[in-house]
Symmetry: C2
Subunit: 222 residues, 2 copies
């Protein structure tokens, strides 16, 4: 068992965990998550791939570290309105805004649930707002969960379409399908026709969020 205190022994470290995470963040910001590989990152910090494994267990851990770093650095706590229902809206919208700013986070979010310790303030305030609206603590956790599903889904779906648009700009399979529907079988979609695409491209996150929160509070009360 190594001595935790006392003078440190052995070869002094040349790279630190912080240095690695910082380089990873730069790499992701400049070239995208796809370019974040252990080998690239190693050359970025002026070392070898295997030196990294002395500071992080594997790539997965590195991604979680990166998520924590991002959360601590960019989650700005909003001013809280007095009205508890509005508080829930404002806090959820703040989470969403932070996520929208970095689509790469998707990969990590589906690898580890929600966020780091520094994000718990957001959980706390959503749950608190819901309880003040009359939910029991249990109902509040379930309602929080529903809000998180909605928020995560919006971000994931939106990030995916953005990626697809960036890749190829052929008129999308979907558009072609919608342009030639059978009005007898699918009357509503046919009537919508080419309006479907622009309508689904609109940002209606807040409207949906308000509807969801209203519904959650009403159901818990009734």
């Amino acid at each position: 068992m190594p001595q935790p205190s006392a003078q440190r022994r052995g070869r002094p470290p040349r790279i630190s965990r912080e240095e690695i995470v910082e380089a990873a963040r730069r790499l992701v910001d400049e070239e995208g998550v796809a370019k974040l590989t252990m080998r690239r990152l190693a050359t970025q910090v002026g070392s070898t791939p295997m030196a990294l494994y002395h500071h992080v267990r594997d790539k997965e851990e590195l991604l979680v570290l990166l998520l924590d770093d991002y959360a601590a650095r960019t989650l700005r706590r909003p001013d809280l309105p007095a009205d508890p229902r509005e508080r829930v809206i404002v806090v959820a919208a703040a989470i969403r805004e932070a996520l929208a700013g970095c689509p790469w986070i998707v990969e990590v979010l589906t690898a580890d649930d929600l966020m780091s310790e520094s994000a718990l303030w957001f959980n706390e305030n959503i749950v608190d707002g819901l309880i003040e609206c009359g939910l029991t603590p249990e109902q509040a956790v379930h309602a929080y969960r529903a809000i998180w599903y909605y928020t995560a889904g919006e971000m994931l779906v939106r990030a995916a379409s953005a990626r697809r648009r960036a890749r190829d700009d052929r008129p999308t399979y979907r558009d072609r399908v919608f342009a030639a529907l059978d009005p007898a079988a699918l009357p509503r979609l046919s009537a919508l026709g080419t309006r479907w695409a622009p309508l689904t491209a609109e940002d209606t996150y807040l409207d949906g969020l308000r509807a969801l929160v209203d519904g959650l509070i009403a159901r818990a009360a009734g």
Copy 2:
């Protein structure tokens, strides 16, 4: 330009698109998406990796093909209740049930939005139910979108936690954090304590869905 009709020329094909998709489905069902590689798939159909590229453009296209195949094969159309609100619930729940049965679909869903042509019946009926509840077509599309975000998010988050549970069963970072919270800073979460984990593990999809649909209809009316 090649002749589409007339007698076919050149070497006869030894593998077909269908055969490839079928083998891919088997591979994914038996070993998981991670094991679906062009090389593995090639040996599975008794051919070489490059033969596949004669039938599908790239791996991405193969995944979309696989999604279509899955949709056509397992999306069972539910009986539609007379009440339009209940219709929306039933159809959304059917989509969710189909998705829950195959977590690998996550990768493809975030690669291409929603589903294949055979899934449009579901879109149609959700939009129709919403319009019959009094929404304008535009509101109905936006409401459909909100339902899709919620449903996709639920599935993605749930699939991610399942994957994590399957990998390592250490008491999860999250549990440890929740066991030692500062009650002054985070009173609600502290009070919940260890109940957080089991509460968020409960399946409350339908409750959240009903709340969302109620809220969407109420907001559109008001």
